[in-house]
Symmetry: C2
Subunit: 351 residues, 2 copies
C-alpha cells in the first residue's frame, strides 16, 4: 500500500479506515458532503481534506442509498482501485449497471463487520476493525491486482478477510445480521405499550435479545430494502417456524416445542468463537464485591497474577446497594483454578 | 421470619433461597427426590436434611410439571405457609383445583426473576436474588399473614417484590421472558445449517440476540406449555407484525419498515433500568489495552480513583493478539470526565 487512500464519507467506518491507514504511515485524503465531518476527522488525525491528488485506492463509506452513485463517481474521477464498505453488496453492482458503468475491473466491494451502533467521525477508532471479519466480495470481472489491494487494506486494518461472492454475502448477512436485527426490533416493539408492572419483571434475557433494537431505523430501513430478496427468504423461513411453533403450543405438543428449541441450541453452538477459530467452552465465575470501585481493581489485579485470561466481564450492580455482582467469563478449563484461588484469597465466589 | 424454612427441591433456586435464609440466621430444612442434591446443598451450608420438624414456611422449588402436586403435598403435610418459585403462576392453581385442594389460604405463589441459565445446587448463591425483581402473585383467597411472610422471604433474599395477580404475571412473563426466549431460539435455529463462510460474518448483534437460545429445552418446553394461553397471545401479535414486515419488505416500503423498527426503539427505551428505577442515559468509553492481564487491573485502579461508577464492562479480545478492546459503560454525564482523565494518563481511548 503506497497510498494515498481517498476516503469518501467520513462517518464512523470511513474515519476509522482513515485512522488505521494513517497509523500505518499511509497518506489519507478525506471527502464528505458535510465539511464539518471532514474537519472533525482531520482534527482527529485521520488525514487531510481531499486536494485532488491521485489516489491509489478510494474507499467509499457512504449510506447504502448513495453507494452506487459514489462508486461510479470514484471510478470515473480517477484511475484508482475503488472499494466500498456498505452492508449490502449486490445492489451497488445493479446500480452501477443501471448507470451504464461498463468497466468494473477496478471495483471490488467489501464489508467490515464492525461498528453499526455508534455513528459519526467522533466514534471512530484505528482499532475498530481489529480481529473482526471483513467480507471481500469480488465480482466476476474484478482485476486480481484490485482484489489484492483491497485485501491489503483489510489486513492493514487488522481485520480478517472472508471471501464471498456478492450474492452469497447478501444471503449471509440476511441470516446472521438482518434477521436478528428485525426479530430483535419486533420483540422490543411488543414491549413499548406493556404496563410498567409487566416491564418490572424484565431480566437479562430480554435485555440481551433487544439490545440491537435500539439501532437507527433510518440506516436500517436502507439496509433492509437494499437486501430485500435475501431478507424475504429468511423472513419466510422464520414465518414457517413461527407458525409451526404456534401450532405446537396450541396443541400442547411439548416434544415439538422442545425440538424447535433444540434447533436453537444447535444454532448457538454453530456460531464461531469471536474472531474466528474454534469455539472453546466457556464458564462463568461470579464474584460478589462489597465495595465496587476499589474492589474491581483489586479483583483484576489478583486475576492478573494467575495468568487466567478473562474473555468477558459483566457487572450487575445496583447503584443504590453496596454489593455488586461481577461475572468473569473464562475458558471452562480455567474456571476451577480461578474459583479456588479467589476463594482462598477471601473473595465471595460462586461458580 | 422465625423459621424453620423447608426447601423442597434443592436445585439452583431452592439452594440459593436456602443459603440466603441461613446467612440471615434462619434455620433451613432441605428435601429433594435426589438425595445427592440434598447432600451437596447441605455441604454448601444451605441447611440440614428434612427431619420432619414443623416448618413456618415451605418453599417449593421443583420443575414446572411437578409444582401442583408438591404444593398440595406441602399444604397437606404441615400447617406452614407455602410458596413456590415456578415460572408460571396460573397452572399450579388449576392443578391444585383439579387435585381437589379446597383451602388455599396458606398458599401464595411467587417467582424470582433470576438464574435460569445455570442449574443445580453447585450453581447456587446467597446473593442470586440481590436487587432482582421477585413477583408475588397472591390469589384472591390468600391470607394476608401468608402474603406478608412470603414478602418477608423476598426481602430477606435482597430481592424487590413486585405484586401481580397470577394471570397478570403469566401475561407479563409471556411478553418479557417467554417471547424473547422463543424468538431467540428461532433466530438461532436458522443458523444451525448455515455454511461456515456465512457464520464467519457473525458479529456481536447475533451473539446477543441468540445467547439465551442456549438454554435447556427440557425446562423451557415445560414453561411454554404451562403458559400456553398467554404465550399464544404474544405469538399471534408477533405473527401479525412479522407478516406486516414481510409485506413492507416485499413492497420496498422503506417508511413502513422504519416505522416497525421505531417501535422497537421505543420498546428498548421502555425497559426499566436494571433493578428498577428510572433508566439513566448511558455512554460507552472504549479503551485499547496493549497487554490485557495486567493492564485491566491498572485501568480499573485508575477508574476507581476518579469515583466514576462503572455500570458494565465488555471485553472484546482475541487471545491470539496482544491488543484487547475494553468497553466501559458509564452514566452519560460521566463519560467526558472519564475520557479526559484516561487520555491524560496515556490510555488509548475513544468515546
Amino acid at each position: 500500500m503506497k497510498g494515498p487512500v481517498l476516503v469518501v464519507g467520513t462517518g464512523l467506518l470511513g474515519t476509522s479506515v482513515a485512522l488505521a491507514c494513517k497509523q500505518r504511515g499511509v497518506e489519507v485524503l478525506l471527502r464528505d458532503v458535510a465539511p464539518e465531518h471532514v474537519r472533525t476527522a482531520s482534527g482527529l488525525g485521520a488525514g487531510k481534506p481531499d486536494d485532488g491528488s491521485a489516489a491509489q485506492l478510494v474507499v467509499v463509506a457512504v449510506p447504502p442509498d448513495h453507494l452506487g452513485a459514489e462508486i461510479a463517481a470514484a471510478l470515473a474521477g480517477s484511475a484508482a482501485v475503488v472499494t466500498d464498505v456498505g452492508s449490502v453488496k449486490s445492489q451497488p453492482l445493479a446500480q452501477l449497471a443501471a448507470l451504464g458503468v461498463g468497466d468494473l475491473k477496478r471495483y471490488v466491494g467489501s464489508h467490515p463487520m464492525a461498528g453499526s451502533e455508534r455513528s459519526g467521525p467522533l466514534a471512530a477508532s484505528a482499532t475498530l476493525f481489529e480481529g473482526r471479519p471483513w467480507a471481500i466480495t469480488a465480482h466476476a470481472d474484478a482485476a486480481p491486482e484490485a482484489i489484492a489491494l483491497v485485501r491489503e487494506l483489510i489486513e492493514l486494518c487488522g481485520a480478517v478477510p472472508v471471501e464471498l461472492s456478492p450474492a452469497d454475502h447478501d444471503r449471509a448477512v440476511a441470516r446472521v445480521s438482518h434477521l436478528p436485527q428485525l426479530m430483535s426490533s419486533l420483540v422490543a416493539g411488543r414491549l413499548a405499550a406493556a404496563p410498567s408492572t409487566h416491564l418490572a419483571l424484565a431480566g437479562q434475557g430480554v435485555r440481551d435479545v433487544t439490545r440491537i433494537a435500539g439501532s437507527d431505523p433510518t440506516l436500517w430501513k436502507q439496509i433492509i430494502t437494499a437486501n430485500a430478496d435475501a431478507v424475504l427468504a429468511v423472513l419466510d423461513e422464520m414465518k414457517e417456524r413461527l407458525e409451526r411453533l404456534r401450532g405446537s403450543v396450541a396443541e400442547a405438543d411439548a416434544e415439538a416445542i422442545a425440538s424447535l428449541l433444540a434447533e436453537g441450541v444447535a444454532g448457538t453452538a454453530a456460531i464461531p468463537a469471536k474472531h474466528g477459530g474454534v469455539a472453546r467452552p466457556m464458564a462463568s465465575v461470579f464474584v460478589s464485591l462489597p465495595d465496587q470501585a476499589g474492589e474491581l481493581a483489586r479483583l483484576f489485579a489478583h486475576v492478573g497474577t494467575l495468568g487466567v485470561s478473562i474473555e468477558d466481564v459483566h457487572i450487575d450492580h445496583d447503584p443504590g446497594r453496596p454489593v455488586g455482582l461481577v461475572e468473569l467469563v473464562v475458558e471452562a478449563c480455567e474456571a476451577e483454578t480461578l474459583v479456588t484461588s479467589l476463594t482462598e484469597h477471601g473473595w465471595s465466589v460462586h461458580p
